[in-house]
Symmetry: C2
Subunit: 270 residues, 2 copies
């Protein structure tokens, strides 16, 4: 099994509750693991209890900071229909709720073939012309040990200490061990880029309040292209719109999150 | 009290549950009331139980068709923080769950003033040059008795039987009795335009699976401008992105919904 698969699989069931293990290998540099990884962990466990395997739309609220180690996932089916099941889940550690999830599951393999997408894939330079974060980065940001990203030089001024000020990031992404993308890996992918706020010259922690992901198709093998954009920074909150495109130019995931942001960069506050 | 205010206010509390009344005055022409109205009804009731008054981000899953008449709203506080409260609610009729809601509440009046919105308000012709639906329309679609809309002629070909095929709607909107917008009225507004699918030449019922709304500022008095756009119709599902701008050019709400759609218009199926 792949690293991502192993770290998002919860094996044991006790009294209808699921025993999960939050891995330390999907860290962002702070104490809490990546929010997309946590969502994938909960979503895979929840899917295992339902008639339908894949989240079509899933919303997570981040209530408190999860930490690597044991956790319990509790699930509830709200409505089971012919093509969709609506369900809820919560991830609990030490009696404290970390994440609450509300979702509608279906089967992405069963959806009609018809596609009338008018959105266009992000224009990215070839992988080999994009910026690879230095390997040392992965010593602190453990998720980078298992994730290959290549950032478009035009949108990664933040990495050279010269953010463009524009709320746009575009990157190639795949798992480092060669595992091809699946729907749960997409839930991780939508939260795997640096915060758009970095490219907007805003520093510091950007904690996610809420993340909603629509999974729209089974992803084809190969590199994914991820675009994250922010158009409304106001009131100490920022929205991020994320699109994930697969190697066959299919828009496989659309996501939006609302995060808190510190409005004053150090230079301005100085 | 305004019509909208009255129809979204739940007065009595019984055993921690809230007795609500689903009004017949916010109908869409089918048996079920408008989904945004229902969300506003639940959100106002939920807010009344919390320390923080306004939803900053709120997600609704529509489980079964609500009908005008009595309902019960059950609420649960998941986490109360200094500036935000995360909570859940469900609307139940005849023992059947209609809507499940997950939200983070805050106080829009308390947010910092800083605004760095790069999104631009939709370019709409003046109100008097826009298209007003015929008054008879309100006999069937009861919500139109209480809502004034003026559609941009450039995006309302559907109303003349000549949809453009482009997934874009732009309209002016306000409540008919002169009540100025408030945060709960914005929850209604994001779902008050016709389905974007109509302008894409797709007919029939477009039931919402899930709707997420970010409220970003208290709306100023006056007409609202609403833009709804769809960029990804695929697999029998369609996303709608909605923006609501107030009279002071402030982006006050951003919303996205996922809906089911019939992929074949009658002409094609013919």
């Amino acid at each position: 099994m792949s690293r991502f698969g192993a770290d998002t699989t919860s094996s044991s069931l006790v009294d209808g509750r699921i025993a999960a293990e939050v891995s330390a290998e999907w860290g962002t540099g702070g104490p809490a693991p990546n929010g997309g990884y946590l969502l994938a962990l909960v979503a895979r466990a929840l899917g295992g209890t339902l008639k339908h395997p894949h989240p079509l739309t899933i919303t997570a609220h981040y209530l408190s900071a999860a930490t690597p180690g044991p956790a319990v996932i509790e699930t509830e089916t709200l409505r089971e229909g012919r093509t969709q099941t609506t369900a809820m889940a919560r991830l609990v550690q030490d009696g404290k709720e970390r994440i609450r999830v509300l979702a509608a599951y279906g089967d992405l393999a069963d959806l009609p073939d018809d596609v009338r997408t008018t959105a266009k894939p992000p224009a990215l330079p070839p992988v080999e012309e994009c910026y690879a974060p230095p390997k040392e980065f992965a010593e602190v940001v453990t998720m980078m040990r298992h994730t290959e990203v290549r950032h478009d030089p035009a949108t990664s001024g933040w990495a050279r200490g010269k953010p463009s000020g524009v709320g746009l990031l575009r990157s190639w992404l795949r798992l480092a061990d060669g595992t091809e993308p699946d729907p749960f890996m997409l839930l991780y992918t939508v939260d795997a880029l640096p915060p758009v706020a970095f490219e907007m010259a805003l520093n510091g922690w950007v904690p996610t309040l809420e993340l909603t992901v629509h999974l729209r198709a089974l992803p084809a093998p190969g590199w994914l292209r991820v675009q994250a954009e922010s158009r409304n920074l106001a009131g100490g909150l920022i929205e991020e719109d994320i699109e994930v495109w697969d190697s066959e130019d299919r828009l496989v995931a659309q996501a939006r999150q609302l995060a808190k942001v510190r409005l004053h960069s150090p230079a301005q506050a100085g």
